[in-house]
Amino acid sequence: MSKTRKISIREAINEALDESLRTDPKVFLLGEDLADPAAGVNAVTRGLATAYGNDRVMNTPISEAAIIGAAIGAAFEGYKPVAEIMIMDFIGIAMDQIVNHAAKARYMSGGRTTCPITIRTSIFAGTGSGGTHSQSLEAWFMHVPGMKVVYPSNPADAKGLLLSAIEDPDPVLFIEASRLYGAKGEVPEGDGIRIPLGKADVKRQGSDVTIISWGLAMMTALAAAEVLASEGIEAEVLDMRTLLPLDMEAVIGSVSRTRRAVIAHNATVVAGPGAEIAAQIATKLFGELNAPVQRVGAKFTPIPSRASEAAVTLSVDDIVRAAKDTMGKQDNA
């Protein structure tokens, strides 16, 4: 095993971008405010323009459709652009480019063109930024054939998954949680660290109930598992890491052992990512489940201002209560 050191998700993503720019001349970055000295509102790209020049780390106008379109065109010519949409709520402006062009290019050309772009974006949930700066919209993209959707929860996964995303021949939406940028964890040293897309990871082992989560909600899920453990319920916590394609083999493997499942995400529950996972569990394990699959997430409202944001979004209590429901125990609180 290689040596590790503790770094933040922000640093891990910066390292992945640095490795890609250094080792592959076909990689370049484009987006708003990316280049030094500004280096972005999230400071993820700090130092990269200084190291690789403004032709490799390209500042763009506030033009989301043009950012993605330019990435698509360059990808058709063999480049591997990493485009940044600063905050996920802005992605609607680029939706046509992503959904109608990037995702379908290979199919609609019968394989004659291919679109190996990576779109990095950040979810500002939990920052108190309100309805147009806080949404968790991963379900939009899970509905689109041709896309891949990745949403890591820790530094090591972020680095390994981003490197895999950049090298992937298909368009990948790579989601970062703003609240997690400072979260630290052990990351292997050196180049060449890769985590395959489409593989979930067991972040905590348990035998009573499977909590299925990803991204920012993983913090909540792991905290909920600790609360449950203190009450004698051992939860297995599965980090999906990639939402499209979904590692249903891992989900089914875990739930077939625990026979209970709670899906926890920051997106709204209504037609959220959990609906697909729950439906597949129900179809495949109908006769083996000890309880109906539970889904927890945001209430079906826009995200309110800072004072009330927590009231509508996923909490530790939501997960604990849902897990207990599957155990047949009522929360007395």
């Binding site: 106008p61 459709a65 330019a70 480019q97 050309s109 063109t113």
Partner: protein, 331 residues
């Protein structure tokens, strides 16, 4: 009539006319086939706009890139996409450019530089900007032409794309085929300016308006823009004013086009006017008709070869969603 005709060689004039005839025959033949129930498909006719694409393509090299729109059969023909591949895609057979999976609106043929055809108005502009960005990064002097209609210039994608291209001085030519109708709405109802080319001023690039019914004039305008782009001078917006004689799609009668306008435009139909230029340049009526008849025969042969081709297999229909054969399923 262009005063620059004498600058073109006989071969160039012949190429213009041949491209126009192939496009006109193809468009007319497919519509006839739909009308008489020979096959069921859908096209967005480009009848009337043949001179624009013929003129533009003559100014391009084979390795120059083209992004066009759903109303792009004349562009495909002019850029060199084989007829069987175009027709195959229109009819949805596995011999089509995209194995029958793209359809009329989504024809790609990178071997001839056709990188994308889009069914979303305005969306080709940012992608063309990216193709031009790649050329600049490659240190190549190849040029990208993005072809679109007047309606596209009212979209956010157009404005975002042209601004980025002008800011980064990219080697791209924005070719607006102003056919005076955006779907079913006349141009004067959707923009407060008389010339689409004026939109170039707002982003700091040259904008020119040219008679799009004259292939020689269009050729000259696009050639100037291409030369500027190749030399590192950045993008140009070329507005070629033309007319769409058919409805928005095959089956739309175009009832909203006033009779007087149609009559006025018929007199300017490039398929009627360009032969006069050819005669002035020394072509005989027999020469002109021979090219038209050969084009018709070529289209007929390609139709005959394609109609009997099979649609894609189930395996083909579900492939190419992802690379490496990845299949995502809920089962």
């Amino acid at each position: 009539m262009s005063t620059l005709t004498e600058q073109l060689t006989r071969e160039q004039l012949e190429q213009l006319w041949k491209s126009m005839c192939l496009a006109e025959r193809l468009d007319t033949r497919i519509r006839a086939g739909i009308r008489r129930g020979e096959f069921a498909t859908v096209i967005w006719p480009s009848r009337g706009q043949e001179a624009v694409s013929a003129g533009a393509a003559l100014a391009l090299r084979e390795d120059d890139r083209l992004v066009t729109t759903y109303r792009g059969l004349h562009d495909h023909v002019a850029k060199g996409v084989p007829l069987t591949e175009i027709i195959g895609e229109v009819l949805g057979t596995s011999t089509g450019a995209s194995r029958g999976k793209g359809g009329t609106m989504h024809i790609a043929d990178p071997a001839h530089g056709v990188m994308m055809t889009t069914g979303i108005v305005g969306s080709g502009v940012p992608v063309g900007v990216g193709l031009a960005l790649a050329a600049k990064k490659d240190g190549s002097d190849r040029v990208t032409v993005v072809s679109f209609g007047d309606g596209a210039t009212n979209t956010g994608s157009f404005h975002e794309g042209v601004n980025l291209a002008a800011t980064w001085k990219l080697p791209v030519v924005f070719l607006c085929q102003n056919n005076l109708y955006a779907e079913m709405t006349p141009v004067e109802e959707t923009m407060a300016i008389d010339r689409v080319a004026d939109r170039a001023k707002g982003v700091g690039m040259p904008g020119v308006t040219v008679d799009g019914n004259d292939p020689v004039a269009t050729y000259n305008a696009v050639k100037d823009a291409v030369e500027l782009a190749r030399a590192g001078g950045g993008p140009t917006l070329v507005e070629a004013v033309t007319f769409r004689f058919e409805g928005h799609y095959a089956g739309d009668t175009g009832h909203y086009i006033p009779d007087e306008q149609l009559k006025r435009q018929k007199a300017l139909d490039p398929m009627e006017t360009f032969p006069r230029t050819l005669r002035d340049a020394g072509f005989t009526d027999a020469d002109i008709e021979k090219i038209r008849e050969d084009a018709g025969a070529e289209v007929e042969a390609a139709i005959k070869e394609t109609v009997k081709a099979a649609p894609p297999t189930t395996e083909e229909i579900t492939s190419d969603v992802y690379a490496n054969g990845l299949v995502v399923s809920h089962e």
